[in-house]
Symmetry: C2
């Protein structure tokens, strides 16, 4: 079983990077609609979406933001991170079947608050930047290494 | 069947407000973990969460952000909105059973870009502000009134 590890504040260095990859499946858009309540036809109805400037269904922007927050919580700094602030700029639409890679880079440390600022970029399989932003987190003070929990299995339908 | 309506750029006024309410169920945290890949034990494992500063499982911060984006997409401006930017400040933890109300208020309009800035606040059932931020969106130019789609039913497990 793989381990879920973190980087403590003291271990983190300016310029440190991490990556987190995630594919956007048809089901993810349905699940995101179920969990957020955003059932906008741009996300769920192919016929409606064809009439919009996007020409096809697109993922909720906040789904990509969820990948960014997962990258922070799972990779850098990892478990024990406290999420303080996030800025997001939605640059390009994300479509069903896209493979999104979140790239994180540490740009600032604040010794007094034990906070860390990270540059966040989400990039699609064509190398295009779809979302950018900056995260501010409190880094863990305790080293953790836990068995990596399995992802819950979710499905759409009764 | 209720309708899903929007406000066009021209209809929107500074100071205009909207609300969007959503309860955080146990299942929502599982679904958010499944969709984002963030299986941090702080969200999923009661025993682990009891050892943290929060004392119990908390929701992913980005789940509340998903409610904010749903408020923009479903209520104000509503369908046809293009999401440009979002800032988020996570102020207090959100727990299972919390009832979150997102309050939106229009604070700025830009006639050239047809963009609208909205102040966003997510408040729990005790009246405490859990997340604040500002959204920048392009408002719809076309009036829409659609049959409100049903929320997809999602469940955890095989």
């Amino acid at each position: 079983m793989t381990q879920l590890c973190n980087y403590t504040y003291d271990e983190i260095t300016i310029g440190q990077q991490a990556r987190y990859k995630r594919a956007v499946r048809e089901q993810d858009i349905q699940l995101f609609a179920a969990v957020s309540g955003d059932v906008n036809p741009l996300h769920l109805d192919a016929e409606f979406a064809a009439t919009t400037r996007f020409g096809e269904r697109i993922a909720h922007g906040m789904l990509t933001a969820a990948f960014i927050s997962a990258a922070l919580a799972m990779e850098l700094p990892g478990p024990g991170t406290i999420f303080m602030e996030q800025s997001l700029r939605f640059r390009l639409p994300v479509k069903i079947g896209d493979e999104i890679t979140v790239e994180l880079e540490v740009i600032e440390k604040n010794d007094r608050r034990k906070s860390v600022a990270l540059d966040c970029r989400a990039i699609n399989q064509h190398g295009k930047v779809v979302v950018t932003g900056t995260a501010l987190v409190i880094a863990p003070d305790e080293k953790l290494s836990l068995p990596r929990p399995a992802e819950p299995r979710a499905r759409i339908g009764d």
